[in-house]
């Protein structure tokens, strides 16, 4: 316990802040339905009501409780971003590991496909794909996951190929272990550190991408609440000096900042760079 506390003290304040915020977000997301008496699509009063005790952040353009929408927005966006990131990692890591361990003709083909996908501007590409395949949540998740998996693929391949030439991997290969064993037992455990850091960063990018797409009207669709479209729908208020619509935007910013702080600290620790 003591050592753990001591460890905690070594954590820089920025990272500590990050950890606290991330935990807070997760708890709020899980508890959302218990925290608010309204549902996210329920019209509770007039449009753009001011802040009162019944509606601490007022109401939105349709008279729905803003705080409720904010909580549900976090829950929806966090959940979708998390699933998307997991999927992106599943695709990217699988492809990367296969490329390295199986190799052969598969490797250059996968790399060329990834190069091709990465040479198209990402946001435009996503907008384009979403207008083709429609804007349901599964397509949203799939489109972002596939496009973002390219970065994961590159990282996995780079990290794995430096491990794959190690003697112990060679030894396992000679022992007659199959590619599945090589991937899961020999390579994967040795590349987790950069992958975890990448997971944090990727999550931020996915989160921001979903917010941007929703802002443009192609992400999470109403009446589901999400932070990007909440900003767009209520931005008019800013003109009149009311900063309510900036709150969801700030919520996005705080979360991504926190994750970035944590990742920054982890990278620092894992590379052992003091300078």
């Amino acid at each position: 316990m003591k050592t753990r506390l001591a460890n905690l003290r070594q954590v820089p304040p920025t990272a500590l802040f990050g950890i606290v915020i991330v935990i807070l977000y997760i708890v709020l997301a899980i508890l959302t339905p218990a925290l608010t008496p309204y549902s996210q699509r329920e019209i509770v009063g007039g449009a753009f009501l001011p802040w009162t005790s019944a509606h601490p952040l007022g109401t939105d353009s349709l008279g729905r409780d803003m705080l409720t929408r904010l909580l549900y927005g976090g829950r929806n966006t966090l959940g979708i971003a998390f699933v998307t990131t997991i999927l992106a990692f599943a695709i990217g890591m699988a492809a990367g590991l296969v490329a390295v361990t199986v190799g052969g003709w598969l490797e250059p083909i996968l790399s060329r496909i990834v190069d091709m996908l990465m040479s198209i501007p990402q946001l435009i590409f996503k907008l384009f794909l979403l207008s083709i395949f429609g804007t349901s949540i599964p397509t949203l998740i799939l489109v972002i996951a596939v496009l973002d998996s390219t970065r994961v693929f590159r990282l996995t391949r780079a990290a794995a190929s430096s491990i794959a030439v190690m003697d112990y991997v060679e030894a396992a290969r000679l022992r007659g272990e199959g590619p599945w064993w090589l991937m899961t037992r020999e390579i994967l455990p040795n590349i987790t550190a950069p992958l975890i850091a990448e997971f944090g960063l990727r999550f931020c990018f996915v989160f921001l991408a979903i917010a941007a797409l929703s802002f443009l009207g192609l992400g999470i669709q109403p009446p589901l609440a999400d932070w990007g479209s909440m900003v767009r729908e209520n931005a008019t208020l800013i003109t009149f000096g009311d900063i309510t619509p900036l709150i969801p935007a700030a919520a996005i910013a705080v979360l991504t900042i926190s994750v970035n702080f944590i990742v920054d600290w982890m990278l620092h620790k894992s590379t052992g760079l003091k300078e």
């Binding site: 091709m116 040479s119 501007p121 435009i124 207008s131 931020c204 941007a212 000096g241 900036l246």
Partner: protein, 318 residues
């Protein structure tokens, strides 16, 4: 033959291949979209008769492959065709928008690149000082914020509260340069805040990486001041990664700014592309996508070439 020229030729060839794939993909993706231009234009007022008439006029009744073939031949002879929806030459439509996009990207780059370099240099010079940590936290924060958040905050502060800058950046070709600059300041600032962090952090990191090397120690022992060491001994060797990250961000400034265009009503290429996708205006979508992809490919190529020139060892790695 110079190995660098060979590399450039190889990469350009690959780039052209990518462009061809993009054009092919875009064409058939638009084909796959529900509805076509004729229906998109006529909207609620469409009747089967008028749709058929318009389709015929736009040659949409021809088979898709034939249309793709014709389009391809025309582009190879420098003819980008006319917009399906308003009959104007695509080159004219896109020309103005591309100019606007480049102007905004240019403004943002003029502010952000020197700023990022200076901040990165100072952070490396005073590494681990309070300044370093502060600038690190600030840039991390700015990179984490959604663009629309930064945009609206700037509008709130400068256009609504202070009332010194216009909230809407509807620039026009007839505008004089000073007006254009005034109208573009807010979107350019927004983009600056978005991209500066990435470049600054890379500058700092690549400088700091080199600072512990023996040759730097040597220069210090000779009595050179730290600033001089960084500027003349370290910076030239750190140029590769810095230039790469600058190129990446320039590419972003050209291709990734749809959100900023929406917030500031800036008539850029991104907005045109989004509109054209919804009206299924294939020629316009095609050419805009090609421009975006080429900008991306060319900037990345430039970055790689500069990186290699500044550190010839790289050549043997690729």
């Amino acid at each position: 033959m110079n190995p660098i020229l060979i590399l450039i030729a190889k990469r350009l060839g690959l780039g052209l291949l990518t462009l061809w794939f993009v054009s092919f993909g875009v064409f058939f993706a638009i084909e796959a979209l529900p509805g076509d231009t004729a229906e998109a234009i006529l909207g609620q007022s469409a009747t089967p008769e008028t749709v058929a008439a318009l389709r015929k006029e736009l040659h949409l009744n021809q088979p898709a492959l034939l249309r793709y073939w014709n389009w391809q031949i025309a582009v190879l002879t420098g003819d980008f065709g006319t917009s399906l929806s308003n009959g104007r030459p695509v080159s004219e439509l896109i020309g103005t928008r591309l100019g606007n996009t480049m102007f905004l990207a240019g403004m943002a780059a003029l502010i952000s690149v020197p700023l990022a370099l200076c901040l990165g240099l100072l952070a490396a010079l005073w590494r681990n000082s309070l300044f370093d940590r502060l600038i690190n936290a600030v840039t991390l924060t700015s990179i984490s914020m959604p663009e629309f958040f930064i945009g609206y905050v700037l509008i709130f502060a400068f256009a609504i509260r202070a009332g010194i800058l216009p909230p809407m950046s509807a620039i026009s070709p007839t505008m004089g340069l000073p007006d254009r600059i005034v109208f573009t300041i807010l979107p350019a600032l927004t983009l600056t805040l978005v991209v500066v962090a990435h470049m600054m952090r890379m500058t700092r990191a690549s400088l700091v990486n080199l600072l512990s090397l023996p040759y730097v120690e040597m220069a210090r022992l000779k009595g050179a001041r730290e600033m001089r060491v960084i500027l003349f001994h370290v910076l030239p060797n750190a140029l590769g990664p810095i230039v790469t990250v600058i190129a990446l961000n320039l590419a972003y400034l050209i291709t990734g700014v749809v959100v900023v265009e929406v917030v500031f009503v800036y008539p850029g290429l991104g907005q045109l592309l989004v509109d054209s996708v919804s009206s299924r205006d294939l020629p316009v979508v095609q050419v805009s996508c090609m421009i975006f992809a080429s900008a991306y490919i060319l900037l990345n190529l430039t970055a790689d070439v500069i990186a290699i020139v500044s550190d010839p060892r790289q050549l043997h790695r690729t």
